[in-house]
């Protein structure tokens, strides 16, 4: 059995770990509030953007001449996957869930004999993917220095993707991120951004008597690259809210586990202290008796 001293040391160490996890939980809770706020504030922009694009793409008369960002290259040979993860760990299954989802998708693509290219956003995703898919990763970006998700960063990623698309380096682009549902549930998402998915439009009420200036094609050409950045920005916002949520619940669990452990160790400590006292008493009594 561990000595009293050892037990005492373990109790203190677990207690100080608990202090850390508790602090992290509180920090995550505060950050979550902010991340949620900005995710909510960012929603109107991407919604409006989506609406306009849907209206536009419905107004386009000739699908053949539609911009490639909308209609695709007509092939699906090369897939580009943008895997968006966090830069920091200690957030439960947050990163692993995205990676798991992405890996299933990668497997399908490779099984069909198609080419796969990966861009990782966030260093944790790169760390987890480099072992199996190291030669497929063409770019890895991390925004460790930015405190919050901001549009400027998203635009950088968006521009890079468009540049690669124009050089015909890929046909289909999918982004992977966690959608924030609530603090304990984050749903990993795979969203295709090139070519754009316009099918979800059907149940929306559409007006087709818009006036366009200049014509639809030109507006679309101007708008679609912006939409890519917007979608990425949306994913970044969802991701940062999810990350804080996941961290909060992970740290909450850790704090609780540490509490349980402290309780258990304290009982053990008291028992062995009691046992030591009893032992000493027995020794004294039996010593006195033998006189």
């Amino acid at each position: 059995m561990a000595s009293l001293d050892d037990l005492k040391k373990r109790i203190t160490s677990v207690k100080s770990t608990q202090k850390i996890t508790k602090a992290m939980k509180m920090v995550a809770a505060a950050k979550l509030k902010r991340a949620q706020d900005s995710a909510e504030k960012g929603r109107p922009y991407s919604e409006k953007m989506n609406n306009v694009i849907l209206n536009l793409s419905n107004g386009i008369s000739d699908k053949e001449t539609a911009p490639k960002l909308l209609s695709g290259t007509g092939k699906d040979q090369i897939h580009l996957c943008v895997v968006m993860t966090s830069d920091r760990g200690l957030c439960g299954g947050f990163n692993s869930n995205i990676i798991k989802k992405a890996k299933i998708y990668f497997g399908e693509i490779l099984k069909e004999g198609k080419e796969l290219k990966i861009i990782t956003v966030g260093s944790k995703g790169y760390d987890q993917l480099k072992r199996y898919y190291g030669n497929k990763i063409i770019e890895s970006i991390s925004f460790k220095n930015s405190k919050n998700a901001n549009y400027f960063d998203a635009e950088k990623v968006g521009k890079m993707i468009i540049e690669k698309f124009e050089k015909e380096e890929f046909d289909i682009c999918t982004i992977f991120y966690n959608q924030f549902k609530n603090v304990i549930t984050q749903i990993p998402q795979a969203q295709r951004i090139i070519p754009l998915n316009t099918e979800s439009a059907d149940d929306n009420e559409l007006e087709d008597n818009y006036e366009f200036e200049p014509d639809e094609d030109e507006i679309l050409n101007n708008l679609l690259p912006k939409n890519i950045s917007t979608q990425i920005f949306k994913a970044m916002l969802e991701n940062s809210a999810s990350e804080q949520g996941a961290r909060m619940s992970a740290m909450d669990n850790a704090t609780r586990n540490a509490g349980e452990m402290v309780d258990k160790l304290t009982i053990q400590y008291n028992r062995s202290r009691q046992a030591a006292i009893t032992k000493e008493l027995i020794e004294i009594i039996s010593g006195a008796e033998s006189l």
Binding site: K41, G42, P44, E207, I219
Partner: protein, 130 residues
């Protein structure tokens, strides 16, 4: 009947401005400035760098916008832009910085005609503000 309509300006990070009592908005559309009054036909167009002016009954509000799109529908004007500054609040140093960046961009050789046009516009507008 009132002649007022609604304006919403959103940027990616937040809703920038929402106003209900607007009588006229002058937007720097790509093909020229455009004044929008109530009951304008539904229209979608995009912006070039310029000054966006919002007239309401009581006041006149000016913004500098760099790019974006706008949509007018059912007497609501939605402006989506990633770069917008309130002219009352913008600082001189910020303005100078914007001009510097734009001029650097313009001095590059490899840009195409459309972006050159946009950058020239931008420099012109920024200088006129200064």
């Amino acid at each position: 009947m009132s002649e007022e309509f609604k304006v919403e300006i959103v940027n990616p990070e937040a809703s920038f401005l929402s106003k209900e009592d607007v009588t006229e908005v002058i937007v720097p559309a790509f093909e020229g400035e455009m004044g929008i009054l109530k009951d304008h036909i539904s229209i979608i167009s995009f912006l070039k760098p310029g000054i966006l002016t919002i007239h309401s009954n009581s006041e006149e509000h000016k913004f500098y916008v760099e790019d974006g799109i706008f949509e007018f529908k059912n007497n609501t004007l939605s402006v989506l832009t990633s770069s917008i500054f309130d002219l009352k609040k913008i600082e001189k140093s910020r303005l100078m910085n914007l001009i510097k960046v734009a001029e650097e961009e313009a001095s590059k050789q490899e840009i195409d005609d459309q972006s050159r046009f946009l950058i020239d516009q931008k420099i012109e507008v920024l200088k006129s503000l200064n």
